[in-house]
C-alpha cells in the first residue's frame, strides 16, 4: 500500500504544483496546460489512492507468521 500511496502522492503533488503555476501564469495557454496536464495528474493520483485503499482492504488482516485458518 505504501508504494501506491507514494506514487499517488507524487502525482498529486506534481498536478498541484502545475496548477499553482497555471494560476500564477495569467496567459490563455495556462488554462490549456491546467486542463490537459494538471487536471489529469491530480485525477490519476486520486484514483491511484482509491485503488490503494481497495487493494489493501482485500489483503488478509492476519499478522505475518500467523497460521492460516482451516
Amino acid at each position: 500500500m505504501e508504494r501506491w500511496l507514494r506514487i499517488s502522492g507524487v502525482l498529486v503533488i506534481a498536478g498541484l504544483l502545475l496548477e499553482a503555476l497555471c494560476l500564477l501564469w495569467s496567459r490563455p495557454i495556462a488554462f490549456v496546460v491546467l486542463v490537459v496536464f494538471g487536471g489529469p495528474l491530480i485525477s490519476i493520483g486520486v484514483l491511484l489512492f482509491l485503488y490503494s485503499l481497495v487493494s489493501s482492504s482485500r489483503q488478509p488482516a492476519s499478522p505475518p507468521g500467523a497460521a492460516p485458518e482451516k
Partner: protein, 208 residues
Amino acid sequence: MPTIATVVLVLFSAILACVIVVRPEITVTRAGKILAFGVLFFLPLFSLAMGMQDEMTRSESTAFCLSCHIMESYGKSLHIDDPSYLAAAHFQNHRVPADEACYTCHSDYAMFGTIKAKLGGLRHLYVYYLGKPPLPQDIKLYKPFNNQVCLHCHLGARSFEEGAVHNADPATLPAIKANKLSCISSGCHELVHNVGHWGNVKFWYGKE
C-alpha cells in the same frame, strides 16, 4: 475566491501530500488514514475545482482576451474616440462591463453559450499556437453575429423599441427580433472594431 487564496490552498495541499509521500507509514493508524483521505482525495479535488473555477472566471476578462498579441488592435479599438464605433461606444459608456467586454458580446446567452465560448477559445489557441494565425484585420467571426446577443440588453429598452429607424418600416423591428435582419451586417451598425481601416481616429483612455 481570489486567485491568491486558491494558490495558497493548492500549495498547502501539496505540502500535506509531501508528508504522506515522505512518511507513508503514518497511514497505519486510524488518524493517519483519515489524514491520507483528506490529503490525497478531498483536498486535491477541491483545489482542482477551485483552480478550474478561477481559470474559467479569468478567461472571461477583457485582459485575458487581449493578452494574445493578435488581439491587441481589437483592444485598442475599444478606445477609439468616435461614438459611431459600436464596440468603443459600448465599452467607454459601460454598456458592457469594461472588465468583461469581449466575453459579454462574443458569447451567446443560450444554455450552452459559455461552453461554446470556451470551445471557441480553445480553437483560437489551436490556430494561434499550431496553425497559421491570420492578420488582425483578416480575423472574421465563425458565423454571423447573432442579434440575440444585442437583444439580451436592448430588447424592451425605449431607445431600441421606439427608435425612429427601427420603426420607419413596421417590418423592421420584427425582423430584427427574429434575427432575420442583422444589427451588425445589414448596414446599420456595421462599424464595430474595423481593425486595419481606422484612418486618422483619435483614442480616448479616460481620466488617468
